[in-house]
């Protein structure tokens, strides 16, 4: 087990490489992933090293990508599919929701579909329309799918391997604005137990005043907000969900029972977003411990706006700090 500083792109590349090495059934497919190595270079060099039968470019047809991946899985492969950007997953939505999510159930367990759908998601990089969406709620609402998202390079390295090892379909959301952030990555083989552990939430820091729940791109924002809050004398627990389906909420309930306060932070639209589910569950489980209503800090009811607006649209450190301060006053 060696450690190396890597970007999240590097961590994902190393994780994909490890999975390709370890399991000959693993295939990578998508638009521009082979020769180009992906528009974010996550698959850089993999076509060269594993050949064009295992890492290949597809026609520009997202439903086709998902549909043929399902057929490949039926033939015994483990396809890892790249959707180039969050906004382009919708042409594949039917295959994901009516086919991928349901097939294990329909076949009474006889035909699992171990497919990973990698999607760079979220805003903050100054991109044009359809390149900054946070579609996680659509997938978490859909039984039969698992949903996972890393918050740093090491999580990405481990998580992608856990997702590929999983017998269920996994929507793997990559927070593109963290692609170039560096972290120490603990290289080495992922044991089955390690993989299993990736499906739980992770407490990043413990503080007695409030529980801050985040995932993906917002984990760093919330950690930095927690630093700022500490200077204001507010001690925050910060929890990284990692797995969005299933949700591992027990650690959150345990924390809220102590802090009595909770905020949930995400980029996606607040209305029927993941924050709603978490708020509802926290209230169901911790009602008598709560000292203030659970607050959501999330996107407004607006399509993702042109990029010059995104610093207003996205939950910033300031907005998390202000939201927490408000809950502390409640």
């Amino acid at each position: 087990m060696s450690a190396a500083p890597m970007t999240m792109v590097g961590g994902l590349n190393a994780g994909l490489r490890a999975s390709l090495d370890h399991d000959p059934r693993v295939l990578l497919m998508g638009e521009d992933i082979a020769t180009l190595g992906g528009v974010f270079r996550v698959t850089d060099g993999l076509a060269k090293d594993f050949g064009d039968q295992r890492v290949f470019d597809t026609p520009l047809a997202e439903s086709g990508i998902l549909g043929t991946a399902i057929g490949l899985a039926m033939a015994g492969f483990r396809p890892v599919v790249e959707i180039q950007f969050d906004g382009f997953v919708f042409p594949a939505f039917d295959q994901i929701v009516t086919q991928l999510a349901k097939h294990h159930y329909r076949s009474a367990g006889h035909t699992p579909l171990p497919i990973v759908v990698r999607i760079p998601y979220g805003g903050g990089i100054g991109a044009v329309e359809h390149h900054s969406e946070s579609p996680e709620a659509y997938f978490v609402h859909t039984p039969g799918l698992r949903v996972w998202t890393p918050s740093d390079a090491n999580q990405a390295y481990l998580g992608i391997q856990a997702a590929i090892a999983c017998p269920d379909p996994v929507i793997f959301l990559e927070p593109k604005r963290r692609y170039w952030d560096k972290a120490e990555v603990a290289l080495g083989t992922l044991s089955a137990d390690d993989a299993e552990r990736m499906w739980s939430s992770r407490t990043l820091r413990t503080g007695s005043d409030i529980t801050v729940v985040a995932y993906g791109p917002m984990v760093r924002t919330c950690t930095e907000a927690a630093n700022a809050l500490a200077e204001l004398g507010v001690k925050a627990t910060v929890i990284d969900l990692r797995s969005l389906s299933p949700l591992d909420l027990d650690p959150i309930f345990a924390s809220v029972r102590q802090t009595g306060r909770c905020v949930v932070v995400h980029e996606a639209v607040e209305t029927v977003g993941l924050g709603a589910e978490i708020a509802a569950r926290v209230v169901e489980e911790c009602f008598y411990s709560l000292e203030a209503p659970v607050q959501r800090i999330a996107g407004p009811h607006v399509p993702y706006p042109p990029s010059r607006f995104e610093r207003h649209y996205l939950p910033s450190i300031d907005r998390v700090v202000a939201g927490v301060v408000q809950v502390m006053a409640g």
């Binding site: 086709g64 043929t68 399902i70 057929g71 033939a75 295959q95 009474a108 035909t111």
Partner: protein, 363 residues
């Protein structure tokens, strides 16, 4: 066999039971006239029709929620399914009960889907026959992906995708043809053009034969008489060999007719033009094979009596099994949502137990 369109569907066996002249577009391999094969084809079409009749009756008495009849399409399905070998894999819609019969799927298992006890009913790998797919066109992509997998496994196997005339309009069918031609995947597109998509006639989906559209992707096509079991078998055999041999996909349009309603919920009298049903009744796939067999003295009355008895026995077995079927236990609803444990499912399984196990009044 040649690429391109043919206005008259190719056929080998005419409605009067006569064989047509051999043609280069669709040759008649002599093995197709082996008595054993002809008898098997006749038996399978007859049994499939009996499943169909029985299922329709069971729906009428409330034992099934729905049935989608394949009446009239037995030749297209039985012929094409007979062309498969043990390496091939079929991807059906919701109407391939005759193909399912050939693939050895127990009709009782299949009717579970229409009774509402299961969304599946059989183990796809055991029969090399995927589950029925209701969302139009979705399975055509699965077939292409499966075929791409066979290239990688070097198995020599091919996939066959069934779909209707209506489904051809869906984007998925297009994307499937793009993937198949670009990857040269071993897949046979088998379109049963049965004239109708519920109430919509074919000209709502295309102004030209579907084979013309498919040829536009750069693959060989064949437009055949779908009520001719020999044409269906010969064309599919040729296509599967073409695909298995590494020459890429083939598109077959089997021109046939849906003699029944779209499903038992449908009322075709609202849209079917007068005379159409009567015309197609003269094209019956089973009748014409019977005539051929009698002409060629491949079978005599005792054979037909025996097959009828087998069909009756099958009908009896289906009726008894379906009528006697108990509803599945409520708890099974929570099984197999995932291949591994999922906290939300397990939580709901607990929450649903005890007080609601018996279900409630739904209002």
């Amino acid at each position: 066999m040649t690429e391109g369109e043919h206005t008259e569907p190719l056929h080998l066996l005419a409605p009067d039971g006569s064989l047509s002249e051999a043609s280069s577009a669709l040759p008649l391999p002599p093995q197709l006239l082996e008595p054993d094969l002809l008898r098997a084809l006749f038996r399978d079409m007859t049994m499939a029709r009996r499943v169909d009749t029985e299922a329709t009756a069971l729906q009428r008495t409330g034992e099934l929620g729905l049935w989608s009849s394949c009446l009239g399409q037995e030749a297209a399905q039985v012929g094409s399914a007979h062309a498969m070998d043990e390496r091939d894999f079929a991807f059906p819609t919701y109407r391939e009960s005759a193909a399912a019969w050939v693939r050895g799927v127990d009709p009782v298992a299949l009717l579970g889907l229409y009774r509402g006890t299961t969304h599946g009913g059989w183990v796809p790998d055991e029969h090399r026959f995927a589950l029925f797919t209701i969302v139009l066109g979705a399975q055509v992509l699965h077939a292409v992906g499966y075929a791409m997998g066979q290239q990688r496994l070097d198995s020599g196997g091919a996939a066959i995708a069934y779909f209707g005339d209506g489904a051809t309009s869906e984007g998925d069918v297009h994307e499937a043809m793009v993937f198949a031609t670009v990857t040269n995947a071993p897949v046979v597109f088998f379109c049963q053009n049965n004239g109708w998509a519920i109430s919509e006639p074919v000209h709502r989906q295309t102004t030209v034969p579907f084979t013309q559209r498919a040829a536009g992707y750069g693959m060989p096509t064949m437009r055949i008489d779908g009520n001719d079991v020999l044409a269906s078998l010969a064309a599919t055999q040729w296509a599967l060999e073409h695909a298995r041999g590494g020459s890429g996909p083939v598109f077959i349009e089997a021109v046939t007719y849906r003699m029944g309603a779209h499903t038992t919920s449908d009322d075709p009298t609202r849209y079917r033009p007068p005379g159409e049903l009567e015309y197609w009744a003269t094209q019956d796939p089973i009748d014409r094979l019977r005539l051929l067999m009698i002409n060629r003295e491949v079978a005599a009355e005792d054979f037909f009596v025996e097959v009828q008895a087998q069909a009756d026995a099958l009908g009896e077995r289906i009726r008894a099994a379906v009528r006697g079927a108990e509803d599945p236990e409520a708890g099974l609803m929570f099984d197999h949502v995932y291949a591994s444990d999922h906290a939300q499912v397990e939580r709901d399984r607990q929450r649903w137990s005890a007080p609601f196990a018996e279900g409630g009044v739904m209002a």
